[in-house]
Amino acid sequence: MTSDDCIRVKTQATCTLVNFLRALFSKEDGIETEFVDMLKPYSKKLLEVITEVFEFSIKVNYFPLQEESLNALSLLASILDEEFAEFYPNIMPGLKKFLYNLQPVTIQECELKAKAIETISELCSSVASKPEQFLDDFKELAEAFGKIFSTLKEDDVQVKAVLDAFVHISTGMKDLFLPYLKELFPLFEKYLLADIDFQVEDGSLNEFRDKENNKKNNMTMKDVNIKLNFLG
């Protein structure tokens, strides 16, 4: 098997695991305790393998594998919930390093960074019920996400991921989130008060004006088009 084949097979295998986990633990139905119990004996080995795959994906710089391994980590964290706390110290440092090193330029890189933020915040959420030993991490991440948030353009795919991350982190930090909220509130305000620029335009107005100029007054063809300025 060539190294390219190997990467593709690893990606496919990770993707299969992600689909399997998604099907078992659909959030709409709620996470069944019996499934969590079923997964527990394999969780340590699974997390070890996924962490290894994630590190490999960074080494070979292969985007689909990075994305799928992040998906798998995120899912395992939300499924294992409190049980995930014991694996947190092994996984979080690598993820943070990945996040800080990633300087996205292309849309694909932005999407990957958004995925990394989602995974990190999911990990934070899974340990939020016993936050004492993770508070330093939460503070560091709140600051880092705050900096990222202040530099994002409104149409960046990372906006949703960062906003969700604040919710996850505030779950663990509670009142300790106050200093960060002071910095973030004006940004939230900006997003909430932004003008969506809804315009209704008479599509036949110009045609009507031309006809008017030519003394051909015909109003029956008049229609209204909604002008949609997608992505600005």
């Binding site: 906003l163 779950t171 909220l181 305000e189 909430l192 315009q199 992505l231």
Partner: protein, 199 residues
């Protein structure tokens, strides 16, 4: 229309509500600012979700209050706007939204521990609103019954619509009754000259 701006507005309104819930009373320094932003968006015409989250800002703000005075500020500032939205949804038979609004009202009043928080004027407004909901729902029931008139064609789609409508109406009625009970409690409290607690 800038769709991403609308999407961000939805995210931001949801996130701010959730942060308020997560921080509890630590959020209280931001209550005034938060409500100033969310109040005009209660009737934001381009998104149901923005309207829902901003209406819910009244409930989560009550949970973030440290004192009765803060609660009174929240209620005085927000309740009339929320009731006006409830009236609009009742008149236009926006059942899903009406159901959601009544739930927000129910849960808001569940969190209020002292009847002093709601002023006389707002108690009257609450009563008028509930009256309007009763009348509007009765009108809507008549329309639903009309679907079943003999001689009319009635297919599977109509059956589905009817089932949904009945389900919505039942839920609205349940919430309406709960809200009325709260109203009656406030009324009894006021009739007794504010002598005893009623919540």
């Amino acid at each position: 229309m800038k769709t991403f701006v609308l999407q961000n507005k939805i995210y931001a309104s949801e996130v701010l509500r959730d942060i308020c819930l997560n921080m509890g009373t630590s959020f209280s320094p931001f209550l005034s600012q938060y409500l100033q932003i969310s109040k005009p968006l209660i009737k934001f015409m381009y998104s149901t979700k923005v309207r829902k989250y901003c209406t819910d800002s009244m409930r989560v703000s009550i949970l973030a209050c440290k004192t009765d005075d803060e609660m009174k500020f929240v209620i005085d500032f927000m309740l009339s706007e929320v009731l006006s939205k409830v009236c609009h949804n009742a008149r236009t038979c926006l059942l899903k939204e009406l159901r959601s609004d009544l739930k927000t009202l129910m849960r808001t009043f569940e969190a209020i521990k002292s009847p002093k928080v709601v002023s006389q004027e707002l108690v009257i407004s609450l009563y008028e609103t509930l009256k309007l909901v009763v009348v509007s729902i009765d009108d809507f029931k008549k329309k639903v019954k009309d679907i079943l008139k003999p001689g009319e064609e009635f297919d599977e789609n109509d059956a589905g619509d009817l089932e949904n409508n009945i389900e919505e109406l039942n839920e609205i009625n349940r919430r309406k009754i709960f809200q009325s009970l709260i109203y009656i409690k406030i009324f009894i409290y006021r009739c007794n000259g504010n002598k005893r607690k009623c919540f």
